[in-house]
Subunit: 212 residues, 2 copies
């Protein structure tokens, strides 16, 4: 294996370095985060920094880039406290990627990009109709990360929309059956193949397999 | 699609609920985090909550569960400020899963589980020799997340070890070529298939593909 020091990585051209370091931490989720602005115009933004924080209470976080680089999602959540997260599938991955272009604040990105805003269950922020795994959140807290001016936005889960046939007997959701993608780095999308599930690990008992 | 309200999800049996909510946020990275305790005994812990925070400076975060549930990694990083992160592959996924059992503070989990501690480049914390993507970090900040008593541990990248043949011309790391896995929920592991890469998105220009 080759050894790369941080000094060497710092010397690299900016995009080479960003590609390398972005890929290093591994596969990520990939979803469209939807919000509405103060005029009710819906916004879409592509996020791969989505973090399961806990299931009781059910908390999910997203990391927003510095405000200058990416102001809309953060500002909209600050103003009305609601957002939806919608898995990305192969059928609309081009459109999803395109939401990362810098559209103006008053542009309806659903219309611009050709996705469908779906309003339901009295949630004022729309879901992406083309997505087969959708969930809605209410803001709990925004934690500024001083080290690089990013923000951890924490939401509590309010509602979920999925096809119940992809839910296993033990509650596990087979999102590979809905064609949800994984991502890597800044621009790569992957399909997935189930390998193994294991029972809860205990000292002295070898790993035991579980079905999907 | 079926609608699930948070009230319904709260009524579910604990493990069913945990499986469901853990899977909802999508595919995750999966790596072994290694630390050493105050006596120099190395520890291993399986993490899927690993977050790319930025590439300039190069910052990566991990979310540690509440201290009562998972004290060793957090305590070790507090005491000496260093940790390594090591991708998980099919060849040792059973062993990796087994590290999530609750071993005592003074147990050398490498020995217990049958993985090899590799000390190199003057880093006092070992790497997992069986892993083909390894990187070492130095603590920047630990942010307590009050909403559920978890902790965001932020490290700055110090060194990386990978086979240079998996690095593309633009710095992207083809971790599928090293057999790095993705994870889902609490206990599921996936292989991945590259689907598409796209150029940086710009307003008015349709998504353009890029090679892996």
């Amino acid at each position: 294996m080759k050894y790369y020091s941080i000094e060497e990585m710092k010397s690299w051209e900016r995009f080479y370095r960003a590609n390398f370091i972005n890929s290093l931490s591994g596969f990520k989720p990939i979803s469209l985060v939807s919000t509405i602005n103060s005029d009710g115009v819906p916004n879409l933004a592509l996020f791969s920094n989505i973090i399961h924080l806990g299931s009781d209470p059910a908390l999910i976080g997203i990391v927003n880039r510095p405000r200058e680089a990416s102001p809309h999602t953060l500002g909209n959540i600050e103003s009305n406290g609601l957002f939806t997260i919608n898995h990305v599938h192969n059928s609309f991955v081009e459109a999803a990627h395109q939401t990362s272009a810098k559209y103006a604040f008053d542009v309806n990105e659903y219309d611009e990009i050709g996705l469908t805003a779906e309003y339901k269950q009295n949630f004022s922020v729309p879901y992406v109709k083309e997505s087969l795994v959708q969930y809605g959140l209410e803001l709990v807290e925004i934690i500024p990360i001083k080290a690089n001016n990013t923000f951890l936005i924490i939401g509590k889960l309010k509602q979920v929309f999925i096809d119940e046939t992809i839910v296993s007997d033990d509650g596990f959701i087979n999102i590979q059956q809905s064609g949800s993608l994984a991502s890597l780095g800044m621009d790569a999308y992957y399909e997935t193949i189930p390998l193994k599930r294991f029972k809860y690990a205990k000292v002295g008992i070898p790993a035991q397999e579980l079905s999907f």
